[in-house]
């Protein structure tokens, strides 16, 4: 397939250039021209007022579809660290249950390392079946044994969907599984649904630095693999007497050319604890300098909250990366999120828009943060925040 501009129809209005998220359209002799950056998203096709941009099928377009009919079931890779299952696994079981029900199929979890008791927890959180391998090789995280064993299990049992956490572990080894099995992998999905018509998994993720959302399909290959960031999906229901099957898996001879010689837990990253906080006070470029965070810290203190930040403020060096909320930082859903001097780039919004209540303080009333805010105050944060601090102190006294 290719997307082409029919130059006799093109009037050179350049609307398509603005629509293209990949900078793939340039002007050549006053006509639009599509270059190699094109990702075939068809955004330009729909905006062209002249109908001059068309999709052309080409010889050899038809990929011979692999035989995907015998792939059935939804799998969740349940990652563990230091023996404990990461909470993202329970969230994945929540969405996995819905997908399995929509496909009228079963939900299985895969657990490498940890213990059989933990495997039983996965059943209580919704898994019909758990493939469990407790071998010592999985005590520390190494990419090769995880990808090799998971690939082997997938080849054997042929699930149609595999979900994993978009964590340092999932984002590191799952790509190897996709490469090995020649199938699609969609990172950091914010929504997963079944297309009622085709049965395909509709995978929605932020693209292009999070400025737009894209729906991704993997129509001809199986399994469809997706990673989901922690705190994006809601956990399913915990039923303490739910029964399910634990299937013990032998690891056999797994190749492992890396070795973890030491594991260091850093105190500082725990103190921030953005993902557990009920109140987060976040600052962005509008703070102007690092000192602004001192003011926000005082406000956060009064609300028993913690400090967050936009990517801009981290890039400026005003605050540590561990505070960053957004697509390249942490995803949070506190009860109250107070955004001070944050314009609200989608990259930030995808990390906090599921907060229960969002309060936005920004000088620019056009700032996109107001589109997601429950309460918005248009004003200088250096006027508003001190006023809030004063009034909160009065209320407390």
């Amino acid at each position: 397939m290719r997307i082409e501009v029919r130059s006799e129809k093109c009037v050179g209005c350049q609307v398509c250039i603005d629509s293209c998220p990949y900078t793939a359209i340039v002007m050549k002799d006053d006509k639009a021209f599509i270059n190699e950056y094109c990702q075939f998203c068809r955004a330009c096709v729909s905006v062209c007022p002249e109908g001059a941009i068309i999709e052309i099928a080409e010889e050899g377009d038809k990929v011979k579809p692999a035989d995907i009919s015998d792939y059935k079931g939804v799998w969740v890779f349940a990652e563990q660290r230091h023996g404990y299952i990461a909470s993202v696994a329970f969230e994945l079981l929540g969405v996995g249950r819905k997908l399995a029900d929509a496909r009228k199929t079963t939900l299985s979890a895969v657990l490498f390392g940890s213990s059989e008791n933990e495997a039983k927890e996965l059943v209580k959180w919704g898994a019909d079946r758990v493939y469990f391998c407790g071998d010592a090789i999985f005590k520390d995280f190494n990419d090769e044994p995880c990808s090799e064993l998971l690939s082997r299990l997938i080849s054997e049992h042929k699930p149609e969907i595999v979900l994993a956490g978009a964590t340092p572990i999932g984002r590191s080894f799952i790509p190897r599984v996709a490469a090995k099995l020649k199938t699609g992998l969609t990172a950091d999905c914010t929504s997963l649904e079944i297309d009622a018509e085709t049965g395909n998994l509709l995978q929605v993720r932020p693209a292009f630095g999070g400025n737009i959302m894209a729906t991704i399909l993997c129509p001809n290959n199986r399994p469809q693999i997706a990673t989901v960031r922690p705190r994006v999906m809601k956990r399913g229901e915990y039923v303490s007497d739910r029964s399910g099957e634990i299937i013990k898996v032998e690891s056999g001879n797994l190749l492992c050319r890396t070795k973890v010689v030491e594991t260091v837990t850093e105190e500082s990253s725990c103190k921030v604890n953005l993902q557990e906080a009920e109140v987060i006070v976040s600052g962005g470029r509008g703070l102007g300098d690092a000192k602004g965070f001192k003011l926000l810290e005082e406000l956060a203190g009064l609300l028993d909250g913690t400090l967050g930040s936009s990517r801009a403020a981290v890039d400026e060096g005003w605050i540590a990366y561990s505070h960053q909320v957004g697509q390249t930082g942490k995803t949070v859903c506190p009860k109250i999120y107070i955004a001070c001097g944050i314009s609200g780039a989608v990259q930030h919004l995808v990390g906090m828009s599921s907060s229960d209540v969002i309060i936005a303080i920004n000088k620019n009333q056009e700032a996109p943060i107001f589109n997601v805010a429950t309460y918005g105050i248009v004003g200088d944060l250096y006027d508003v925040v001190p006023m809030m601090i004063k009034k909160l102190k009065e209320a407390k006294a």
């Binding site: 397939m1 609307v15 603005d18 998220p21 270059n35 950056y37 094109c38 075939f40 998203c41 955004a43 377009d61 990929v63 660290r81 995280f141 990419d143 340092p168 572990i169 984002r171 590191s172 790509p175 190897r176 996709a178 490469a179 090995k180 992998l185 932020p206 693209a207 630095g209 999070g210 737009i212 959302m213 894209a214 729906t215 399909l217 993997c218 290959n221 050319r257 890396t258 010689v261 030491e262 594991t263 260091v264 850093e266 990253s269 609300l303 890039d315 390249t328 009860k335 109250i336 989608v346 209540v357 996109p368 805010a373 429950t374 309460y375 508003v384 006023m387 809030m388 009034k391 909160l392």
Partner: protein, 260 residues
């Protein structure tokens, strides 16, 4: 020792905004840059070169204009560069991109491959680990420090959610690096001269020996169905009056929410 660094030319996404009225991207004046994480990968390679005398080859897959990004790395001190470019590569997802890079890297030869942890336009973090799988070598992602490197092995710190792991690997190995690993050097005057004069070697689909059904759109298991502006469905509440009255009302609401 041969080090190959994979870089990507990306639009500076921090500069991109969406026009809420037309749902189109405002890209006016958005410059193309080397993916910021990749400049740290180049620096990490140059630091290993400084210690061991390794040869550093920087490669990128992209359209002809991606050449500019390669010249910048020559200015930093890269010994050699390759532009992997062919119309057949257009529309590649991470699988097809990794496949093409693997074919190229296999031709070039390597002991260590360095990548940024992810590109800021796609943010997938998939290409590095996928290249390692294709090459059948180990990889370590999110490297924040190279502690030690020899002809046969390497020891690094890998960033995790709750701290870091010290990880050893045999060579050859692929590493993806985070920003904390170093501060990329500025180009030297000598480097800038070299960059200006350099002839950029291009590798097309035949040069890397790739099979046509595995590259570009055709080799991509995933497809973009559509793109759209994120919608906002919010139960918005209005605060009115002077700034002080608004803050008053807000603090009262915070009280209702049992925060005070």
């Amino acid at each position: 020792m041969n080090i190959v660094v994979c870089i990507k030319q990306v639009p500076d996404t921090a500069e991109v905004r969406i026009n809420p009225e037309t749902n189109t991207l405002i890209r006016e004046g958005v410059p193309s840059i080397i993916n910021p994480y990749d400049t740290h990968a180049v620096e990490a390679a140059l630091q290993i070169k400084d210690k061991t005398g390794a040869k550093v080859t920087v490669i990128t897959m992209g359209p002809p204009q991606a050449e500019d990004a390669l010249r910048e790395t020559i200015a930093m001190g890269a010994d050699d560069v390759r532009l992997i470019s062919d119309r057949a590569f257009a529309g590649a997802d991470t699988w097809a991109t990794s496949y093409a890079l693997y074919k190229a890297i296999d031709k070039i030869g390597f002991d260590i491959i360095l990548c940024g942890k992810q590109a800021i336009d796609g943010d997938t973090a998939q290409v590095g680990p996928e290249v390692a799988e294709f090459l059948n070598i180990p990889h370590i992602a999110y490297v924040r420090k190279v502690e030690d490197v020899s002809d046969k092995s390497i020891r690094v710190q890998r960033l995790m959610d709750d701290g870091y792991d010290v990880v050893e690997s045999s060579l050859p190995v692929l590493l993806t690096v985070v920003k904390e690993i170093n501060i990329p050097r500025l180009p030297s005057l000598k480097g800038k001269m070299a960059a200006k004069k350099a002839v950029i070697t291009k590798m097309d689909i035949n040069a890397i020996g790739a099979e046509v059904e595995n590259v570009g759109l055709k080799g991509s298991p995933t497809q973009v169905k559509n793109i759209f502006a994120p919608d906002a469905k919010v139960d918005r509440k209005v605060l009115s009056g002077t700034l002080e009255e608004q803050v008053d009302a807000l603090v009262k609401e915070l009280g209702v929410m049992k925060c005070v």
